[in-house]
Structure formats: C-alpha cells, structure tokens
Amino acid sequence: MTTKYASQDFKSDQEVKWCPGCGDYAILAAVQKALPEVAEILEYKKERFTFISGIGCSSRFPYYVNTYGFHGIHGRAAAIATGIKVANPALSVWQITGDGDALAIGGNHFIHAVRRNIDLNIILFDNQIYGLTKGQYSPTSRLGTVTKTSPFGTVEHPFVPGEIVLGARGTFFARTLDIDIKLTAECLVASAKHDGTSVTTVLQNCVIFNDGTHKEYADKDIREERTIVLRHGEPMIYGKNRDKGLMIDYENLRLKSVKIGENGITEKDILVHNMENPNPGIHMMLVNMKFPDFPVALGVIRAVKDSTYDDNVREQIERSRQHPVCSNVDELLRSGSTWTID
C-alpha cells in the first residue's frame, strides 16, 4: 500500500541558513514537491530516501530534508553515496553537490559514478562560483570571470557539466533553472524513475557572489526566447510564439536554430527530441548550445536504458550464492589443501 505524502512531510526541523534570495531555496522547494510524487509513483516509503552531500552552501541541503541524510566532506559525496547504494540497493539515494564539489575536488568520483551507472540521483547546483568560501571562481565559471582569486579575470576554460556526463557514458542528464520549480520537480521525478546514475544540473543563482550569472537566459521575460524545454517525442520548438525550432545543419554537421514559416520551414522539418537515443551525438549538441547563438537546452536531454552497477553487483552475488564454493566460514577455512594431525 502506498502512503500519501505532502511536501510538509519532507521538511526538517532545522532552520534553513542560506542567504535570503539564494536560488537554493527554490531547489529545496522543488525537491520537497517532487518527493511525494516519487514516493507515490515508485511506491516508496519516506524512510527509503537518503540524501548525501559534500561541502558547500548547496551541500547543507540534507539537513533541511526530513529523511536520512549524510553531510560528507568536500568532493566525496559521490563516493559516499556509491557505498550506501551498493550496501543497500533498496534505498533511494540522492546526491547533492555544487559545481566545485562535483567538478573540481570531486571530479574523479563524479565521472566514475557516472561511468559505473550506479543508481544515484545527482543534483548539481551550478552557480558557477564557490559560494561557501565566499566567491572564488569554479570549474564552470565563464572565461574572464572576475573574482577575488581571479582579479584580472579567469584564464581557464569552463566545463560544461552535461558534456562531462555524456563523455563519461552517462545514461541520464537533465538541466533546469532554480526559479522554475515545476520544471525542476519534473526533471527530478524523471531522474528517480531512471535506473542508473542520473545527473540533473540546476542553473542556480548565488545572489551574493555571482548574482545574475544565468540572468541573460533565465529571466522571466526573455526565458521563453532564450531557452528550450525539451520533451521526449516532441518537436524541438521554442519561443514565446512557439515559432522557433532546431534543425540539423547537414552541411556543417551541427544544430541550427530556424524560424518556422520562414524559407519554407514547417513544423515537420523540426527535430523531434529522442532522449532514449543511445547515440549521444545529438544530446551532445544539445547540451553545448549556448546563448546567444542558441537557446539553452532545459529538461531531460538524455535518458537511456543500460544495466546498472548496483544491479550487476547484486546479480553476481545471487549467481554465486546459487552455486557456492563455500556456504559458510567454517567451509571457507577448510577449503583448498588441508591436512589432519591425529
């Protein structure tokens, strides 16, 4: 029997301590909106949810969700979460991480979690800055970003998280905006339904140290013009008047943004989103679309089926247990060559 939960059931007694106006509040609201839905669809009891984080403003998240929670150390959330999931595959494991936590100090664990396709739901809070340590540039900060540790602007190229996920053979990638609580919740429900590592990047605003970093495409009045929400099976159309779309520019083998109705282009010419396409080619082009040449892609960009690490571990154990060489420790100690003195 499924228990019906409300958002309230996932609120903890801890005072939320982010700066007023921080994008993290909206993400918390989206998670608390998504969890009752996930519980209902997947028939999970509340005690199955476990939230794991590293260190950063974002990583304080588990304290605010009334489930099992573990606030780890900087960069290591993916490893801790991996241990939890393998130890108890029945748990619904959520990893909360920042752009620094996941992609700088924790980059190694992040790519390997994705490569293994272990059934974790990773939410990457991408504010393109180190919030907790008061505003140093991060691996996703744009080239030239001025911070206290880059007073003349950064001289290094940023990561595109989606590109890393696809490069590491990721099976699920979604992107959303902190302020779009509905879309975030939708992505998170999809992430929960996906078997394997799912990464949802939330473009998050840090009001204090990187205010407006996503503004040029996230602001409400221009958002529909400058982003595209992808939905499986639907044509890639966007714009306030839904008059723009994406097509493949075959000459240059890349995407192009076109206007429907111009140059004889009709809706039928627009690409249809297939998140289940095992070939990551188009997904890679989608995650790399950048404003102003392209709309920023949001929604579930990739969700393909593949065997998961935790299932493979479980299967191997079950198989070995059906034909055990030893079935208990006494047998183990006496296996191989022994001799008796009597």
Binding site: S53, H71, I80, A87, V313, S320, T338, I341
Partner: protein, 613 residues
C-alpha cells in the same frame, strides 16, 4: 644401500631463480610437504620489484625462503642451509644469505659465460668472485636432465624446460628425505583440466629425486625431526588471506553484510582479491577510483548498516586521512587495514617496514583518536582482523589494523579454528519502533552511540562532518559542546582498554631486560628472546598488538624491568609514543629501516650487549 641421514632440528632452504622460473610454487610445495608431515614451517617470498625484468638479470630474481623445523617455527629464518640458484643472477643476488656451511645447488647449464656476465660478474670463476668457494656446491645440469626426463613427451621445448623447477624440487625432497606424494597430488589437482601436464611434472620431479640419489656428490641427507603438534585440521595461510577471512568471519558472526571498497596497492591488494572471489558468501567488493573513494564508499556502506572495510598500504592511508576524520566524527564503524611497506612516498613497494605507526596514530586534522592495532604473524591476521571488526562495530569507531609486507606475503601452518569458538559481535543497532532516537546518545559502558540504519521507519536523522550537538547530532558551534565532544571521542576510544586482553609477557614478569615490539616483528623477537632464555639469560618479551589504547597493565609491566628496549622496523615511532605516555620510564631503541625484517642473530647480538646476567 640404505641412505644415511642426519637428524636435525631445523633447516632453511632458499629457492631462487628468474621470475619466470616458478620459484614461488617450488618453495610452496616444499613447505606444504613439510607441514603435511607435521613439521613447523614458516615461509617468505622475495619478489622482484619489476614484474618481468629481462631474463637472467639481477632485477628479475625471485626468491622464496622456507624454514622447516621440528617444533615451533616463528620466522622464515635469517640465513639458509640450502640455496637453490637456477641462474648466475640468482646466485649473486642471494649469496649473502647462504650460511658458511651451506649447500648450494645450481643449474650448471645456465652458468654460461654470457649469463654470468648478465649477472654483472667478471672473471672466470663466479664462485670465487662471490666468495662461495668453501661451500658445498652441487653443479647439476638441471635443464639438460629435465629435457632428458621428457624425451618421450609430446610437450614443446618451452614447456619442457619450464618444468625444470620440479627437477630442483625433486633434489630437495631427496636431500630432506621427504616423500613425493604431496607434490604429485598437487599436480593431479592443479592440472585436472590439462591432464597432459600431470605426468611430465611427476616424471621430472622423480627425475630430480633419482638424480640426487644416484650421484656421489651429496654426502649427507637430512631428516627434520617431527614433533607432536596439536591435533586437528591444518592448512597453510598467508597474512593477506587470513586478514580477508577474519573479516568474513566477523561478518558472519555479526550478521552484518561485508563491504570492502579499495584501490589496488602492493602489498595490500591480496586482501581485496581474496574478498572479491567470495561472492558466494555475499561479500561486496568495489574496486574504486582511488583510496579516498575506498574509504568514502566504506563510510557510506557503514552508514547503510554494513560491516565496512577498506584495505591499503601507506600511500593510500595518506589519501584516506581526511575521510578518517569524517569516520571519527560520524562515529561509524570502519575497519582500515594498512599493509605497511617501505616509505616515504612510493618508497619500497615490495619491502616490509613498520613506519606507518605515527601516521595511523596522528595523521589527521583535529583531535582525532581512533583504535590502532596490529597483527603479529600471517595466521594471526585472522584473529586480529576479526577483533578489529568486533571493536569497530561494538564501539562505533574506525579501527586501523596495521599489517606489513612481511606477514602479508609470508605464510605458516594454521590449526583451523571453528567459527563457533569465536566471540559474538553485537552491533548496537537501533530496533525498529524505537521512539525519540537521539543519534548521539551513548551507552554508558562503552560510550558508543547507537546505529540507526537508513530504511528503518521513524529513525530518520542527519549526520555529517560538522561538529555536532552531543545528543541530537545536528550541527553545533557551541564552545562548551565542542569541548564535550572532543573529550567524549577521546574517552570512548580510551574505554576500549576495558574490552581488550591484558598485555602478555613471554618470560619473567620482572627482571633485567624487557624487549618490546609490536606487529609483524613478533616471530623474530620471540625466537631471539626464547633462544636467550634457554641459555639462562634474564630477558622477557612484551609484544604489543593494541597500540591505541594500550592494554591497561602496560605501565605496570614497564615499571618492573631495569632496562627496556623497543625494537621496530622504523626510526623509533613506538618508542616515542611510549615515551609520551610514560615519561618517567627510559626506553632504549633498536631500529632497522632497510626494507628487511630483523634477523634473529642481530637481535640476540644486541640483547647480549645489554643483558647483565
């Protein structure tokens, strides 16, 4: 003619050859046969650092030493009575280990000018060059004779010459009047799926035996007196295997599934390998991306209610430091096995050392106490791994178990215990239905907190690396609370002293000289001390395996001896720790940091300079 043999108490045989010559197997078969006959046995492999160094080169020499004796055999022996050297490089690399009156057996076919030069020896007579002239040298054309044994065989030439190690083994069996049956049985089992190899191996083995019997070059053969070992079922066991099995036994006893997250590193990898094949016992192993992930996956698994383990060597322990602090803070049980090797940095990966003690005790930020213990011999790794797991779980704390390359790769016969005889392990798991769970409330006896496993309804809670409220476990920056928690974590580990055995003494409990050691040097210290005791010398041994906390009677022991000498394979890390704990006591030191174990002879020499009566 009946064979003449000399009865002897013990003998040390060193097998050496090119790393492709199968010396490890040859030595193992010799050791197993002796153990099977009821002799005491201790072995130690001496691997080359390179996996496949050029054939015939010094870098490629692989050795295996076996010490066989009538009674207790605690070390693989300092110097050898018989040295088997399959090529000139092996002879050169091992000449220093051959006793003055030893017998040296060489494959004369390979002592060509070219090979001698490859070993870096100039001059016509290699034995003269290496100052081995006065040894009893058996110059046997092993390669030729092996091929002759297999003249009728259909094996190709390469396969034929590869079995020459069995010819050498046959010679050794003759030398020690040992039967071929054990090795023959081994071939039958090993080659069950490739039966074409069974007969050739048997033929060559017997060929070596008969060759030795027929030539006049062997004046005497030996027989190791058999003693009356305790009755029961025995096996040979390596330290790494024993460690893995001890952990599996702890899993069975505690009812907690075993989880191991590790990254391969010499000489610890064997534990991960041994655990990885035990899927039939439900063991979960993850070969993760680095040592940090090793301990972090283990911490995650512990949070989720498993018996969590990570295995490594010194460089890996360094990488785990920060996460060890996390384990201390969240007070979850994790066993960290450190199989020590020569350091610092990459150091001497294949050589033994005890130089990670300070790192294990202190190598973390903050006031960060945890249990540090050690294992003292290959078979002892079983009991100590079991105990480490028991202490971790029952006291809700990480435990570092120090093994080392010497005991990890060494082996000894082991009277197999029955799991029923091991103590229970009671995990302080919070039962379902408990109300008002406080993550940092503690039991009075141990000061351990209680373990609420994710998935249990009603026990949802959050923990982490921030300092926590002494009851609720939520983050707290209250100054008094921090002081309380620092003191509490220290008191919890100190309390473990009430739950570990008192320190034992070998010999009189008071007197002139107390030798002190810890961990893998036990065999050498024990042998040296008991040898001197038999000669009437006033010396005792206190060999520690609980380092933090120390056994409760430690101070009392020290105060009863006139002189104390702390012997360890580092520059004095345990001695300095003891000085810090007992500043009123004078500790002498005896240290060696050469990547090698002690020798019994150097220990007895040192002790003799101190003993006054």
């Amino acid at each position: 003619m009946d064979k003449q043999f000399i009865e002897t108490d013990d003998a040390v045989i060193r097998f050496s050859g090119d790393s492709g010559d199968g010396m490890q197997l040859t030595g193992t078969l010799f050791a197993d046969t002796a153990a099977f006959l009821g002799n005491g046995v201790s072995t130690f492999p001496d691997f080359p650092a390179e996996i496949r160094a050029p054939q015939g080169s010094l870098a490629g020499v692989s050795g295996f030493q076996v010490h066989v004796g009538s009674g207790e055999v605690r070390t693989p022996g300092d110097y050898c009575d018989i040295l088997i050297a399959m090529n000139p490089a092996a002879l050169k690399a091992n000449a220093q280990w051959a006793k003055p009156a030893s017998t040296i057996i060489v494959d004369s076919d390979l002592f060509t000018e070219k090979n001698i030069e490859k070993a870096g020896i100039k001059g016509a007579n290699i034995f003269e060059e290496l100052k081995l002239n006065d040894r009893n040298i058996l110059y046997a054309p092993i390669t030729t004779l092996t091929k002759e044994c297999l003249a009728d065989s259909t094996l190709d030439n390469k396969a034929k010459s590869r079995s020459k190690n069995m010819f050498a083994l046959g010679i050794c069996f003759y030398l020690f009047n040992q039967p071929l049956t054990y090795a023959e049985k081994y071939f039958e089992n090993k080659f069950r799926k490739k039966p074409q190899f069974i007969e050739p191996n048997k033929l060559v083995l017997r060929g070596g035996y008969n060759y030795a019997a027929n030539i006049q070059a062997i004046p005497n053969t030996y027989k190791i007196k058999t003693s009356n070992p305790e009755k029961g079922v025995y096996r040979n066991i390596h330290g790494n295997q024993a460690t893995a099995w001890g952990l599996i036994a702890a899993s069975e006893k505690s009812g907690l599934p075993l989880f191991c997250g590790s990254y391969p590193i010499t000489p610890a990898t064997g534990i991960l390998e041994e655990l990885a094949i035990r899927k039939d016992l439900g063991v979960k192993t993850l070969q993760v991306e680095d040592e940090i992930a090793g301990i972090c996956t283990a911490i995650g698994a512990a949070f989720a209610g498993n018996l969590a383990v990570t295995t490594t060597s010194g460089p890996g322990l360094s990488l785990k430091s920060e996460a060890l602090g996390l384990a201390v803070m969240v007070e979850l049980p994790v066993v960290i096995v450190d199989v020590q090797r020569g350091g610092p940095s990459t150091g001497l990966p294949t050589k033994t050392e005890q130089s990670d003690l300070s790192q294990a005790l202190w190598g973390r930020n903050g006031e960060c106490p945890l249990i540090v213990m050690s294992a003292q011999s290959p078979a002892d790794c079983f009991e100590k791994a079991f105990r480490a797991a028991k202490l971790a779980v029952e006291h809700m704390t990480p435990v570092i178990l120090l093994s080392d390359g010497f005991i990890a790769n060494g082996s000894e016969p082991w009277l197999i215990p029955s799991v029923a005889g091991f103590p229970d392990i009671k995990a302080p798991i919070v039962p379902e239905g408990t109300t008002g769970y406080m993550p940092y409330a503690r039991d009075e006896e141990r000061l351990a907190r209680f373990w609420a496993i994710p998935g249990t309804p009603g026990l949802e809670h959050r923990i982490g690396g921030l300092e926590k409220d002494f009851l609720k476990g939520s983050p707290s920056i209250d100054p008094q609370n921090h002081q309380l928690m620092v003191d509490m974590r220290a008191a919890k580990v100190a309390k473990v002293a009430d739950f570990i055995p008192e320190q034992e003494i070998i010999g009189n409990t008071e007197g002139d000289l107390l030798a002190v050691g810890w961990g893998g040097t036990f065999g050498h210290l024990y042998t040296a001390v008991t040898q001197l005791q038999k000669k009437g010398k006033d010396i005792s041994l206190a060999h520690f395996n609980h380092i933090n906390p120390l056994p409760k009677n430690t101070r009392e022991i020290f105060e009863k001896f006139k002189q104390i000498i702390v012997c360890e394979l580092n520059s004095g890390q345990f001695a300095n720790y003891l000085r810090m704990k007992y500043p009123h006591i004078i500790f002498e030191q005896y240290n060696k940091v050469q990547g090698l174990p002690f020798t019994v002879i150097e220990l007895t020499n040192k002790f003799n300079t101190l003993i006054t009566k």
